[in-house]
C-alpha cells in the first residue's frame, strides 16, 4: 500500500534498531510509556519490542478510549436502553466493555436491547432520521480525536431540527490523564513512579497540538515525544526519547511532524469549545476521579444532551476489589502481581481496564507471558 508501506520498511527498521542499540546506555533501563492504544497496537502487531535492546521497555498506558470508561457510565448506557428504550449507537469495541455484574452492551443487545454499532456519527444521524418516533442516543466515547465528529453531529442535528437525537457525552482529555498518572490523587499514598518518558499521542496531538504537553513536561520532569502510529514512527520516537534521557534533556519533541503542529487543528478546537465544556471531574477506570479530565455538553446545547433529556444518575460503581490497574498503569506493578490476573480476569471476561482491549497491559501480558515461557527465541 503506497504511502503506508514506506513507514513499515523492514530495512529502515533494522537500521533504526541498530542505531538504538548503539545509543542506549547498557547500565540503565529505559521505561517508556506509550500512552495510546494505537501505539501499543503497533508495537504488538509489528513486533517492535523484539527489535529493541533488552533494557528498553514499553509500558502500556491507559490510552485505549474504551478501556478507561468507568463501570458507572456503562451502567448508565445500559439503563438508557433498558429503561428508556432508546436506540443506543456506539463505536465497535465499546460493545464488549464490561459494566457491573459482567454486563455489557453486547449482552444487552443479545437480550433484545436496541444497540447499534456505528462507524461514524453520520450513521447515527441517519438512524435518527429513519426512526423519527424513537429516541436515538449516541454513546460518545474517546479522546480528543473522536470529539470533533460528535460536535459536528450535534451542530448538524440542530440545523436539521432533529428532535430525537441526543449525545451521551463521555469524551475525555489526554493531558489530564497523563497528569493523573504522574501525580496520583491525594487519596492514594505516594507511590514510586517507574516511567522515564512518554511516547505522546499521534491523532490526539493532530487536534490539540504539542503545546498542552509543555506544562506537564515542565512540572514533572519526564520527556514526551509525539509519535505517529506506524512502527517506524514508534521506533524513531523511541530513539528520540532515549537521546533526551541520555543527554538529560526534558522536552516536548515531535516525531510526527507530517501531521502534528505545535498549535494543532484550531478549527476543530474552536468547534469543540463552542459545544462542549470541561467537567469539574470525571471517573476513569483504573485512575479513579480525575479533575478537569472530560467534556460535557454546554447548557446552550442541552437539547442534545442525553444527560438532560433522560435521568442519568451518577453511579460510582467502584472497580473490582483487588484490581491493580492503577499501579499497573503507573508501571510500579506487573499484571502478574494482581490477584485477579488470569483467575477471574481474562480477555474473555475482563474486569479491569488493562484487560479490556487486546492492547491493554494485562491482555498483552496474557499473551506475552505465554510467549516468554514458550519458544520465543526459536521464532523463525
Amino acid at each position: 500500500m503506497k504511502y503506508i508501506d514506506e513507514f513499515r520498511s523492514k530495512e529502515l527498521a533494522h537500521t533504526l534498531a541498530d542505531a538504538i542499540a548503539r545509543e542506549v546506555d547498557t547500565d540503565r533501563e529505559y521505561r517508556l510509556m506509550e500512552f495510546c492504544g494505537g501505539h501499543t497496537h503497533a508495537i504488538f502487531r509489528y513486533g517492535v519490542q523484539k527489535l529493541m535492546p533488552p533494557n528498553v521497555k514499553f509500558i502500556h498506558g491507559p490510552g485505549c478510549p474504551v478501556c478507561v470508561l468507568p463501570i458507572g457510565r456503562i451502567d448508565n448506557a445500559i439503563e438508557l436502553v433498558q429503561q428508556h428504550e432508546v436506540i443506543l449507537c456506539t463505536y465497535g469495541d465499546m460493545m464488549r466493555v464490561p459494566g457491573s455484574g459482567r454486563n455489557s452492551l453486547l449482552k444487552i443487545k443479545a437480550g433484545g436491547g436496541d444497540v447499534r454499532m456505528v462507524w461514524s456519527t453520520q450513521d447515527v444521524l441517519q438512524i435518527a432520521r429513519d426512526n423519527p418516533h424513537r429516541q436515538v442516543v449516541f454513546f460518545a466515547i474517546g479522546f480528543e480525536t473522536t470529539t470533533p465528529p460528535t460536535v459536528v453531529a450535534i451542530e448538524q442535528a440542530a440545523a436539521e431540527g432533529l428532535k430525537n437525537f441526543s449525545v451521551f457525552c463521555n469524551h475525555v482529555l489526554t493531558p489530564a490523564a497523563i497528569r493523573a498518572i504522574l501525580a496520583p490523587g491525594q487519596s492514594d499514598e505516594p507511590e514510586p513512579m517507574a516511567i522515564d518518558g512518554f511516547l505522546g499521542p499521534s491523532h490526539v496531538s493532530a487536534i490539540i497540538g504539542t503545546r498542552p504537553y509543555e506544562p506537564l513536561v515542565e512540572a514533572y520532569g519526564k520527556p514526551v515525544v509525539i509519535a505517529g502510529f506506524e512502527p517506524l514512527d514508534v521506533m524513531q520516537a523511541t530513539r528520540m526519547l532515549i537521546r533526551q534521557l541520555n543527554e538529560n534533556r526534558v522536552e516536548v519533541e515531535n516525531e510526527y511532524t507530517r501531521v502534528v503542529t505545535r498549535e494543532g487543528n484550531r478549527k476543530a478546537q474552536a468547534l469543540v469549545d463552542k459545544v462542549l465544556e470541561l467537567r469539574p471531574t470525571f471517573e476513569w477506570r483504573g485512575l479513579g476521579m480525575v479533575s478537569r479530565s472530560a467534556l460535557r455538553i454546554r447548557p446552550a446545547w442541552s437539547e442534545f444532551d442525553a444527560e438532560q433529556r433522560f435521568p442519568v444518575p451518577e453511579i460510582t460503581a467502584s472497580d473490582m476489589r483487588g484490581c491493580e490497574c492503577p499501579r499497573i498503569l503507573r508501571g510500579v506493578k506487573k499484571p502478574t502481581d494482581c490477584k485477579l490476573f488470569g483467575a477471574v480476569c481474562t480477555p474473555e471476561n475482563p474486569m479491569g481496564s488493562c484487560m479490556v482491549s487486546s492492547e491493554g497491559a494485562c491482555a498483552a501480558y496474557w499473551s506475552y507471558g505465554r510467549f516468554r515461557s514458550g519458544s520465543e527465541e526459536s521464532a523463525a
Binding site: 513486533g47 480525536t145 487486546s358 499473551s367 526459536s378 523463525a380
Partner: protein, 350 residues
C-alpha cells in the same frame, strides 16, 4: 415428485409473491413450493423420487459426513450469496478430510413474508453451485417461521462423501517439522461481506472467494496421499484462529512468515481503513494444508496449477511447543504471537 395428474390452480408467483405460513404447513402450498421451486432447480433422479429421504449405494471404505448452518447477512454479496455459500461451505468441510463429496441435503428455514423472487434466486444459485461441483442436493426440508422470528432465510446443508483408501487427514496430525501451506490470498470473503453491509457500504471490487475446494483437494491427495497431515478451511475467525485450532488439536506450535502470506492489496487497504486484521477475517474458498516438509514443494506445485490455488504459498512450519503458540515473523522484522480471536472481531476506534 411431479405427478402428471396433479395441477395447481395457479403457478407460484415468483415475481412478486412472498413466503407465507402455508408454505411450511405440509399442505398443497408446500408441495407446490417444493415442486415448482426446489425440485425445478435441484432437479436430479434421487430428488424426483419424492421420498422423505434419498437412498443410494454405499461404497467401500470410510464415509465422511458434515453439516453447516448458514445465517449470513446480507444474503447477496459480491461474488456469491447464501445459496452458493451453503453448498461450498459444506462441500469444503467434507473435503477437508480428504474425501470426495457425493451428496448434499438442504434444510430451509424461511421467514414469513420473504420474497419468492429472492428465494428463487438463492435456490437457482445453490443449484448452479451444486451442478458445477458435481454433487447433487438429493433431499431437503422446508419450514416457515412467523415474521420477525427469522432473518429472511437460513439454510442448513449436510454433505456425505468417501475417503480414498490410505488417506488419513485430521486436525490432530500436525507434526514438528511439517510445512504449512495456504491456497491463496486471505480475507477476501470477510471484506466482500463487510463492503456490502448496509451501514458500511464502501466501494471495492473485492469479491468473496466462496468456492468448492474438493477438486483441488482431490488433486492434492492424488499427488501425495500419505504426506498431507491436516487440511482445514479458515472460515470464521480467519487464518489466525484456524491455525490456533490446529496447533491445539495437534499439541504443537507454529512459526509463520508474514511476508509469505498471500494478501490482496485491496483487502489490506480495506482492513487498514476499518481497523481490522486480515489474519482474522473470514475466507470461504481457501484451505490450509499441513504436510511433510519433503512433499511441500511438490504439493505447492499441484496447488498452484489448479485454478483455485494459483496464489498458494508455503507460509511457515510446525514446531515443538507444548503451549501450542502460533508465532509470526512480521514483515517489519519483529515477531509476535498470533493469538486466538477473543470475542467478535470489532473495529478499533483509535
Amino acid at each position: 415428485m411431479s405427478n402428471p395428474g396433479f395441477r395447481y390452480s395457479q403457478r407460484l408467483d415468483l415475481r412478486s409473491g412472498t413466503v407465507d405460513m402455508t408454505h411450511g404447513s405440509g399442505g398443497r402450498a408446500m408441495a407446490q413450493l417444493v415442486e415448482e421451486l426446489f425440485v425445478r432447480h435441484f432437479d436430479n433422479e434421487l430428488l424426483r423420487q419424492g421420498n422423505d429421504q434419498a437412498s443410494f449405494p454405499v461404497e467401500q471404505g470410510r464415509m465422511v459426513m458434515s453439516t453447516d448452518g448458514h445465517v449470513i447477512s446480507p444474503l447477496f454479496f459480491p461474488g456469491g450469496d447464501i445459496g452458493s455459500l451453503a453448498v461450498h461451505g459444506t462441500l469444503n468441510d467434507v473435503a477437508m478430510s480428504g474425501a470426495m463429496p457425493l451428496y448434499l441435503s438442504a434444510g430451509f428455514i424461511l421467514e414469513e413474508g420473504f420474497p419468492l423472487a429472492d428465494l428463487d434466486r438463492i435456490v437457482a444459485s445453490m443449484a448452479e453451485a451444486s451442478r458445477k461441483a458435481g454433487v447433487p442436493v438429493v433431499t431437503g426440508d422446508t419450514k416457515v417461521v412467523e415474521r420477525g422470528k427469522g432473518d429472511g432465510v437460513f439454510i442448513t446443508t449436510t454433505g456425505v462423501g468417501t475417503v480414498p483408501m490410505g488417506v488419513n487427514i485430521s486436525g490432530d496430525r500436525a507434526q514438528p517439522g511439517d510445512a504449512i501451506l495456504v491456497s491463496g490470498s486471505i480475507g477476501n470473503h470477510g471484506v466482500a461481506i463487510m463492503s456490502s453491509r448496509e451501514n458500511l457500504e464502501f466501494e471495492t471490487t473485492i469479491e468473496s472467494d466462496s468456492a468448492a475446494l474438493h477438486q483441488l483437494v482431490a488433486e492434492m491427495v492424488a499427488a501425495a496421499p500419505d504426506a498431507i497431515h491436516c487440511l482445514r478451511d479458515p472460515t470464521r475467525g480467519g487464518l489466525a484462529t484456524t491455525l490456533n485450532e490446529l496447533a491445539r488439536q495437534s499439541s504443537v506450535g507454529m512459526h509463520l512468515r508474514e511476508s509469505a502470506i498471500p494478501m490482496d492489496e485491496q483487502v489490506m487497504a480495506a482492513c487498514e481503513l476499518l481497523g481490522l486484521d486480515p489474519l482474522y477475517v473470514a475466507n470461504e474458498g481457501k484451505l490450509i494444508c499441513i504436510c511433510t516438509a519433503e512433499s511441500a514443494d511438490a504439493l505447492l506445485e499441484v496447488m498452484c496449477s489448479h485454478p483455485l490455488g494459483v496464489q498458494s504459498a508455503i507460509i511457515g512450519e510446525v514446531v515443538t511447543d507444548d503451549q501450542g503458540l502460533v508465532q509470526m515473523k512480521t514483515r517489519f522484522g519483529g515477531s509476535r504471537v498470533v493469538d486466538w480471536l477473543a470475542g467478535e472481531p470489532l473495529p478499533r476506534i483509535c
